[in-house]
Amino acid sequence: MSGGNWLAGNGGVYVVGIGLHPYQFPSDTPYTQLGLTAVRAALADAGLAWKQVQAAYVGTTSIGMAAGRVMLRHLGSTGLAVTQVENASASGSFAFRQACMEVAHGISDVVLAMGVDKHGDGRRAANKDGLERLSDTATIPAVKFALMARSYLREHGGGMESMAKVAVKNHGNAALNPYAQFRKPRTLEQVLASPRVAGDLTVQQCCPRGEGAAAVLLVSGQALARLGLDPARCVRVHASAASSERDETRYGEGPIDLVRDSARAALEQAGIGATELDLLELHDAFSVEELLYSEAVGVCQPGEGAAYLERGDSRIGGRCAINASGGLIGMGHPLGPTGIGQVAEIVRQIRGEAEGRQHPAARWGMAHMIGLGSVAIAHVLGGTARC
């Protein structure tokens, strides 16, 4: 642990409880039911009571104002501080970061970070900025990433199979995850034969629309013993780094630079190198992203993303299990919960509790998200309070 790391404050920040409501296709289930299922599971996992939670940060994009308070009152009106966080796909990740800050700065010792979402109408601030665009497709992520995919394949000489294999791996991982929206393994032939959406991206290479919830409980290192928590199940947060888009001078490099910069900052804060990561959960809303971002994070060399996947280095049991949860493509991407779900997966893996999809000897993990291609956030978790 580096001496200047703000996450060392208050004895350090630990994830002590995790809980999820399975990600699923849009349904009539109220968001309160989704969210409370996840929070109750996290409380039970930690062995804490709701009245012990001092603050809550709720990541959501599409439910509406004050969803957190409307939902959490059903656990008891304890008077805790509730803050709603919205930052597109990274909403849950930023809720987690706020919770880390609250614990590390000694404001609270027990904080809930959660994400909950229903599939919304897709209204975006980018469509309300008073500026017209040459094409109505300009704010559609599938088009942007299809263009990036074409450039990637053009530059690296790979065929469509190279990025389709991302979907094969992640659908396979998701099939082993009881919280995943998709539970069927897919063959390369199935992925390639599924209907094309844009460019070389087929539908099975794109994340689904859906809903769900994920929750984690954070506790300060100072409070672990007082609360009687099992140190072997308390996973430490070593880094939290966030950034937003810089002026793009090289065409197509903006999102990649964004991932590279935020990942590098997080790794420096944690005091480890990228190749020390055992687990990496990243934003694979579209298959090509995993190839691009595995290079940008640094688990493999620039241009090696496809080869890294091909060699099996990114599978469970490989050098660094990328998207062991199934990722956004397989586990799903309900937006608000996604970043919290990544953290929950890493905690589960580091504890050694990822039954059926356990990555051996998992110690270090990074959860990385981007939001609408313009904000990025990375968290590094590693070891338990017993280490």
């Binding site: 500026l131 017209e132 665009r133 497709t137 942007k144 450039s151 844009a198």
Partner: protein
Amino acid sequence: MTPDLTTLQPLRPTLYRLAADGRSLDFLFAQCPQCRQLSFPANAPGCMHCGHAIDASAQVARPGGGTLLEYVTLHVAMVPGLSAPSIAGDIRIAEQVVEEGVIGVADESLLAPGMALRAIAVPLPSGEHYGCHFVPAGAQGATA
């Protein structure tokens, strides 16, 4: 028969207008009074390069077009009014200004990265407006 485009209104009046030839489009940029670079669209509240405040006095018109950087076919109708298949591309319309646009060619085989494109007006089904398509420079019209 191609309708008289001069009788139609631009669908995106803050972005382009009909050029003197009655078919091509001029794009409306803002030239920053501070760094002198072009921003798009012209009514953005700040220079996209240096952040300096810009207003209507900074607006300049330039022939619409640019360099094709990348392109893909859209296999599903992603937005109302855009049929499938269609082609979308990233076009560098000025130095350090890249915009996504609709490419008005029948298929991708007619395109290559780095090729010059020009922006033309295409009449829309409403009969009241024209939109913007990019076609290879020198091409006479659009197919979509």
